[in-house]
């Protein structure tokens, strides 16, 4: 079997006596959409925070692209090719869309400790930023301040920012949260497009969306891994339904 893109071994994070993430071992293969689902409080967001380097693991290991990153800071993990979006849109409200994606794209420049040349002069960075905006359909709003966008557009902008960092793996925390039906569809279509040549790890509550896009699904309950496998298998699993899907009215 090919080496997985991302792998965790017995990953645990405790807050006091509570183990929010408890001994999670999972493999994320290259390409495809890997969804993480589970009831509220299952530890899904904590897991993403651990993977992105924002939270320190209490024990266990995280290996990304064959390198151990358990103790790595968020900036190092990002530079290795992992991008991250948040549960609530985390853009820079006082900057324009163009400036937001520029900041994201600039992070891939050799160095930003450049003092004398104006920021607009680097064509490569500008091109990458423009492309990310275009991929998300925001080109016409490039000069609008991020804080003035509709919430749906802010989510799009956030994805554009992540794309501008040219990630191999995207961690997406509830990308559809707070969105209406149409906006949700737009994001979903965008994600399908993005997933064509990248790997996605997706935390989501919307089951229809999850099963319309995911190739593999991991189910978490109370910080532990209940089951993981191909999307269809999970969908059909009685255990999972009992633990989670059964609580939801279809």
């Amino acid at each position: 079997m090919a080496e997985p893109l991302l792998e965790t071994a017995d990953l645990t994070r405790r807050f006091g006596a509570l183990a929010a993430v408890d001994g999670i071992s999972l493999r994320v293969e290259r390409f495809g959409v890997h969804a993480v689902i589970g009831p509220n409080g299952a530890g899904k967001s904590t897991l993403l925070g651990l993977l992105a380097g924002e939270l320190r693991a209490s024990s266990g290991r995280i290996v990304f692209r064959g390198t151990e990153v358990t103790r790595s800071p968020p900036e190092a993990i990002s530079q290795m090719g992992m991008g991250r979006s948040y549960q609530t849109a985390n853009v820079f409200p006082t900057l324009s869309c163009a400036e937001c994606v520029w900041l994201a794209a600039q992070s891939r420049a050799r160095t930003s400790m450049v003092f004398l040349r104006s920021a607009d002069r680097d064509p490569e960075i500008a091109a990458r930023a423009a492309q990310a905006l275009a991929e998300c359909g925001l080109s016409d709003r490039r000069l609008v301040l991020a804080g003035q966008l509709s919430y749906g557009d802010q989510r799009l902008l956030e994805i554009a920012m992540v794309l501008a960092t040219a990630p191999e793996l995207l961690l997406l925390d509830e990308p559809l949260a707070g969105l209406g039906h149409d906006e949700g569809h737009r994001i979903l279509a965008l994600l399908r497009e993005i997933a064509r040549d990248r790997t996605l790890v997706l935390v989501e509550h919307d089951m229809d969306a999850v099963f319309s896009i995911a190739t593999t699904v991991t189910v978490m309950v109370n910080g532990r891994l209940l089951e993981t496998g191909a999307a269809q298998a999970i969908r059909g699993s009685a255990r999972v339904r009992e633990a989670y899907l059964g609580e939801e009215e279809a």
């Binding site: 380097g53 924002e54 939270l55 320190r56 103790r71 790595s72 800071p73 968020p74």
Partner: protein, 292 residues
């Protein structure tokens, strides 16, 4: 160093640490719960000392000075919170620093206008002016013993309030998560006013108690303030336990530093702070930073 000299330094260090704790505990809670960087805290110390001087000068009684002066200072703290500090809760650090810095300048000049810029002395109350023998060669002033015991008593009282009263519980909760306290529907405004006033009172009390030991002049608050900040950094913002340990550490380091390294004594305290920061950037008992 002889044993009794050593004991003397320990006692002095503990005493200055205890006084420092009074100031720092208020500062760390005001910071932890109100989220306000309060540069004016030292001014309360100074005003406390001035009030002690002024009242004891007129009544001949140090006790009267404390009994009258303390409520006055608490009231002043309450007033300042209502008029100025409350406007800082939503503001950033720059605004907080500059407004409280401005307050210090105004209050310093105010006391200069009211009391003049001469250095004043406050007489040690007669009942407490003896000395206690430490071994054969050293003695320790009774007043210092009294001050230490008084501060210790206040420290115990603070602990009782924080651990065993509803008010204390809310304060502790607020120190950890201010928004949560508000969400619980507790009247946060009143809590904050009381807390600030109490903090001001503690600082003023320290100033009053210290007045007979040091002279009283317009700038005495500044030095205390900065050292208090060091204590808060060492102990961790919002932690009274940390403030206590930090104050003891600083008090002892400063006292021993003056004796062992006279030329550099002023800098010792900061060296201690730097050392703590190297290993614990959030202080001994501060919340651990999440990101690496």
């Amino acid at each position: 160093m002889t044993l009794s000299l050593f004991a003397l330094q320990i006692l002095n260090g503990v005493e200055s640490g205890l006084l420092l704790f009074l100031v720092a505990s208020g500062l760390t809670l005001i910071f932890g719960v109100l989220g306000v960087l309060n540069f004016a805290h030292g001014a309360f110390y100074m005003l406390g000392a001035y009030v002690a001087y002024w009242i004891s000068e007129r009544t001949g009684s140090f006790l009267a000075a404390v009994l009258i002066g303390l409520p006055v200072m608490v009231g002043l703290g309450w007033l300042i919170e209502k008029l100025a500090i409350s406007r800082l809760y939503a503001r950033d650090h720059l605004a907080q620093v500059l407004l409280t810095y401005g307050l210090v300048l105004v209050l310093n000049d105010l006391s200069r206008a009211l009391f003049g810029s001469e250095v004043h002395g406050v007489a040690t109350p007669a009942a407490l002016s003896g000395t206690v023998a430490l071994g054969e060669a050293q003695t320790w002033p009774v007043y210092r013993a009294f001050t230490s015991l008084a501060c210790l008593g206040v420290a115990v009282a603070i602990r009782q309030v924080l651990l065993h009263t509803r008010f204390g519980m809310r304060v502790r909760a607020g120190a950890v998560n201010g928004e949560m306290v508000e969400a619980l529907g507790i009247d946060v405004r009143r809590l904050l006013s009381i807390l600030f006033a109490a903090g001001a009172g503690l600082a003023a009390l320290a100033g009053m108690l210290a007045a007979p030991l040091t002279t009283v002049y317009p700038g005495i608050g500044d030095g205390v303030l900065i050292v208090s900040f060091v204590v808060v950094v060492i102990g961790g913002i919002g932690s009274v336990k940390g403030a206590f340990l930090g104050a003891m550490l600083v008090g002892l380091a400063d006292t021993f530093g003056k004796v062992l390294l006279p030329g550099l004594s002023g800098a010792i305290v900061y060296a201690v702070m730097a050392a703590v920061l190297l290993f614990r950037p959030r202080g001994l008992f501060g919340e651990p930073a999440e990101a690496r």
